[in-house]
Amino acid sequence: MIRARFGKRLPALAIEADFRVPESSTTVLWGESGAGKTTILNCIAGLLEPDSGEISIGGCEVYSSERGVNETPQARGVGYVFQQGALFPHLTALDNVALALRGPSPRWPALACGALPALAAMGSGAVGNGAGRAGGAGRAGGAGRGLAALPRQRLSAREARELALPWLERLGIAHLARRRPAALSGGERQRLAFARALAVEPRILLLDEPWSALDRRTRSAMHGEFLALREEFTMSVILVSHDRSEAELLGDRILEVAEGRAVEGA
């Protein structure tokens, strides 16, 4: 569940966002290029700081201008698939995921914000404790097995690779583990971007036009894969798209973004 209500003034655009993403649903931010969709996503992820308002993720406040809260992106527990993938070009596919798994543990201290009971009641599987992680691993069909037993900060490069491989398998790109991103096709790159974003077991998933650079056929194949993934990974998802048919196919709800405004019921 995501609650976002904030404003952000950019040189060419004033962003105004006010919407909720219910637990386990996919909300599509749909609108033309330059409407401010990516900026909204970046504010939720903590990569940009809004000027005012509040953002909460899973019942935890991650940003509040009033209370002076502004959690780092690291502490927000978001999975982010960037438009161009943002895959680390100097690392192999496997190491792209493995590096992510070598981050600190627990990933999101924000969960200690006093909203834990509420979260538990919502049955979020991605709570940042051992049990939650085991749940996440279970949903991934064995991916990340043993994660709960191994505190992440102590993972060696080898251990991280061993835990990363099941994620590549899950996305069907294990045979490309030793290739660098430049040697992957567009579709393979986006699968890797999904594997990397999911491997850290985020509480929510933010997708910034992940398939916009792909040809029509690959894109529709990726849509099918996304819907299949959605059966397993039940976190809230915000998908940014400028493609109306994509929005209708993948979204539980569509929120139109126009000239910086993404306001529910407007």
Binding site: G79, F88, G103, R178, R180
Partner: protein, 260 residues
């Protein structure tokens, strides 16, 4: 005295100076690129000043600072190790003149790294230090290495400031440029030509290295070619990747044809 002595001394001075330049230049470049700082322009001007000041002026400034009556000189004198007219002074002069080059190269290299990679690291929960070490630094490496080589070359060729603070003492502070000057002045043709040859050869190698660094990109690799070099698979991944994956082992290094 062996005509090779200035060469060895120059290599020693330039190497030690480059170690310092590398550490300080990279640190300053990171500090200045990481966030907007108050008085950034002023700091930057201070760092870059040695690039525009005549070396002899710089040498004189260093002399005032490290000399017998200078603030640093007094302290060093009390500690019993004055640096003026020693090879250490030559190192200091080299560091000061080459630091702007290193700083500029590092800054350009760090700025050249697309922010999306660092942002991706942040959303993956990686700390800022790890992001710098594992993402930014490797991606900026070609520029940083070429900056290091340029700084080394600059240190090797340092003349004016070195002459002012270290003097021209054969066997002690006489580096290649000073020795060459003395040899030409004294009509020692053979010695001058030897130094000339050595310097040109060194400079050529350094320029080759810089050119090589500029060609290194993470451009698409040709999978077929990499299969011929299974020994160069990325560290530690051999045990995990399936047998057929070797084709991409060297993927992304893309040195050949990497210039775009």
């Amino acid at each position: 005295m062996s005509p090779w002595q200035p060469v060895l001394l120059s290599l020693r001075v330039a190497s030690i100076a480059t170690l310092f330049t590398f550490a300080v230049g990279l640190f300053l470049a990171r500090a200045m690129t990481r966030k907007k700082r108050a008085l950034a322009g002023l700091w930057e001007a201070l760092i870059l000043m040695p690039m525009v000041l005549p070396p002899t002026i710089l040498g004189y400034l260093l002399l005032l600072f490290f000399g017998k009556h200078g603030p640093a000189g007094i302290i060093l004198d009390r500690l019993g190790s004055p640096v003026i007219f020693t090879w250490v002074a030559a190192v200091i002069a080299s560091v000061v003149v080459s630091l702007p080059l290193m700083y500029q190269s590092c800054k350009a290299a760090l700025r050249g790294v697309d922010a999306q990679y660092e942002n991706a690291g942040r959303t993956l929960g990686l700390g800022e230090r790890r992001i710098f070490r594992r993402i930014t630094l490797p991606l900026a490496a070609p520029g940083i290495i070429s900056g290091t080589v340029l700084s080394f070359a600059r240190a090797l060729g340092e003349f004016g400031a070195t002459l002012m603070v270290a003097g021209n003492i054969p066997g002690r502070t006489q580096t290649i440029p000073l020795a060459l000057y003395s040899a030409v002045e004294g009509g020692r043709e053979a010695e001058a030509r030897l130094l000339l040859g050595v310097t040109v050869a060194l400079a050529f190698v350094l320029v080759l290295i810089v050119g090589y660094c500029e060609r290194v990109t993470f451009a698409p690799a040709v999978p077929g070619r990499a299969a011929a070099a299974p020994g160069k698979a990325p560290r530690g991944s051999a045990a995990i990747a399936p047998a057929g994956a070797g084709s991409g082992a060297k993927a992304g290094q893309g040195r050949k044809g990497g210039r775009r």
